[in-house]
């Protein structure tokens, strides 16, 4: 059996740059033009299979709107293996915001975190305010991955997640327990509340992924 790894991925970026749409495209290959601010979309997972057969499962944390008033909890950054920081190529201010999120990550997250800077809404290139050169140069300076995407058309979406999957270190224990993320109830080192609930005859799934 080929190796499996699991990593926690957090999304960051200004409101309305398309963070949730990007994930929706990646996870469900859907797009909704009139998507409301994130409600209920809590916790999504998607697996990428690399050329060598290794599968990388992303446990994706959306901000759930808590970024709006700078109220993201430390829990959000905790044990994140990778982050996708999104800006809108048609709004130059959103790149400024992305820069401040990257500084925040460098301050709060684990130093080994892999950060990808992602210019979304590439389908709206006619209204572009952020040039590819500018964003790429900044990413290179900061040692970040970079790519442009369109959650609407799907362009570049799988590519950026696959690139992250390739770059993540595969030296952690295999089989569903990659990074120190917090899913995979059965694989935890600590106690599992859900499992115990089962023992008491309550209805519950083994794995909450």
């Amino acid at each position: 059996m080929s190796k499996q790894f699991q990593f926690k991925l957090v999304l960051l970026g200004e409101s309305a740059v398309g963070k949730s749409s990007l994930v929706l495209r990646f996870v469900k290959d859907q797009f909704d033009d009139y998507r409301e601010s994130t409600i209920g979309a809590a916790f999504l997972t998607q697996t990428v299979t690399l050329e060598d057969g290794t599968s990388v499962k992303f446990e994706i944390w959306d901000t759930a709107g808590q970024e709006r008033y700078k109220s993201l909890a430390p829990m959000y950054y905790r044990n994140a293996n990778c982050a996708v920081v999104v800006y809108d190529i048609t709004q130059s201010a959103s790149l400024e915001k992305a820069r401040s999120w990257i500084r925040e990550l460098q301050r709060q997250a684990d130093p080994s975190i892999i950060i990808a800077l992602c210019g979304n809404k590439s389908d709206l290139a006619a209204r572009r305010q952020v040039s590819e050169e500018e964003a790429r140069k900044y990413a290179e300076e900061e040692g970040l991955m970079w790519g442009e995407t369109s959650a609407k058309s799907g362009e570049g979406v799988t590519e950026i997640f696959t690139e992250i999957a390739k770059k993540l270190p595969k030296n952690a224990p295999a089989a569903g327990r990659g990074g120190p993320g917090r899913t995979g109830a059965g694989a935890r080192s600590g106690v599992d509340l859900n499992k115990q609930a089962n023992a008491q005859g309550e209805q519950n799934e083994q794995c909450n992924c």
Partner: protein
Amino acid sequence: MDEEYDVIVLGTGLTECVLSGLLSVEGKKVLHMDRNDYYGGDSASLNLTQLYRKFRPDLSPPAELGRDRDYAVDLIPKFIIASGELTKILVHTDVTRYLEFKQIAGSFVYRDGKISKVPSNEVEALKSPLMGLFEKRRAKKFFEFLQGWKDEDPATHQGLDLDKDTMQTVYNKFGLEPGTQDFIGHAMALYLTDDYKTKPARPTYERIVLYTSSMARYGKSPYIYPLYGLGELPQSFARLSAIYGGTYMLDKAIDEIVTDADGKFIGVRSGNETVKAKQVVGDPSYFGAGKQTDGKVRVVEEGKVVRAICILKHPIPGTEDSDSAQVIIPQNQVGRKNDIYIACVSSTHNVCAKEVYIAIVSTIVETDKPELEINPGLQLLGTIHDKFVSISSLYTPTAPGTDDNIFITRSYDATSHFETVVEDVHDVWQRVVGKDLVLKKREDIEAQA
């Protein structure tokens, strides 16, 4: 901030965050604010910088304690009792997916000058120095009686009525010695005083059942604890709230609770902005904290708790080098009315640097020298590397809030777990929503959506 909300929640302590999460799941439009720039209010876990800012604002943390980010020091000493109500809420709301738990390694009780482990199984019970041989037999009969009790089967009652007979009567029936009564009432039923003995036995019976079933659940102790500190609990419920549309604002000054001519809630003022909502829920610190605000006393002080956060470089002596422990000093043992508790966690729980142990000694204040009252607890700790002492008032609301739409939660009490916090959640929910809180599984909720 020009929108109108169903409920504004003030303070991000655990009680408020659980309520906020459940209200959002229920479909209420919630705005949740906190004056601090961190989550958790009085139930937060702080890093060293935050800890010093709170207790020693003129000093910075010493470098020898290690990295700031390795610390998550709890402000209140509580553990989660494994089979308790908080566990149920954690499982039902599925916030367990944001959390990881570890056991507390042992529960200990102080008796005649030394610490002994509260037995976690029959083998330990037989070896325990807490009881002599004959007393062990009597205690065995007592526990068999509790285990066998069935309300509908009088044959299991042995002539006792849990709703009428006092706990003292039950102890006497089995001939249990005072020391054993101390152990059962304080280390298992977790009563802080001896008042329970003169009351009907049922609540004590229920507490012992909770304790033993929690003990049986994971083995070493009845308690579990979230990695990275108790402050993870409010954060996880805040996330639940946000996922269901709750809006979060930290670091926001709350300047006034705005009411109409009849005293009914209108909104909350911050600077020159006022946000309107139908109802407000908040912790006592936002409602005068015992003092008059806007012509009203909304909360009163019920008592005080003294807590000493102690930084140790070793496990608590006599606890078998446990990485975490609860130590109970029953009041009778040290001539007090209220028990003294010690709660200890360590780097095993990702709350401090390696080789560091954080022990919190606490009790309900009985005299005008509270710091001296915790001495019997401090003396059990060995060398105390550093100590942060606080005295907190316990506030309770003066009105149910149903008349003015102002619903105030209670302060975190001196009990060792979160059961009273969950009681408060149920109580406030009932008053805010007008019906009992029924927990739904999140899968069911999502299936409906």
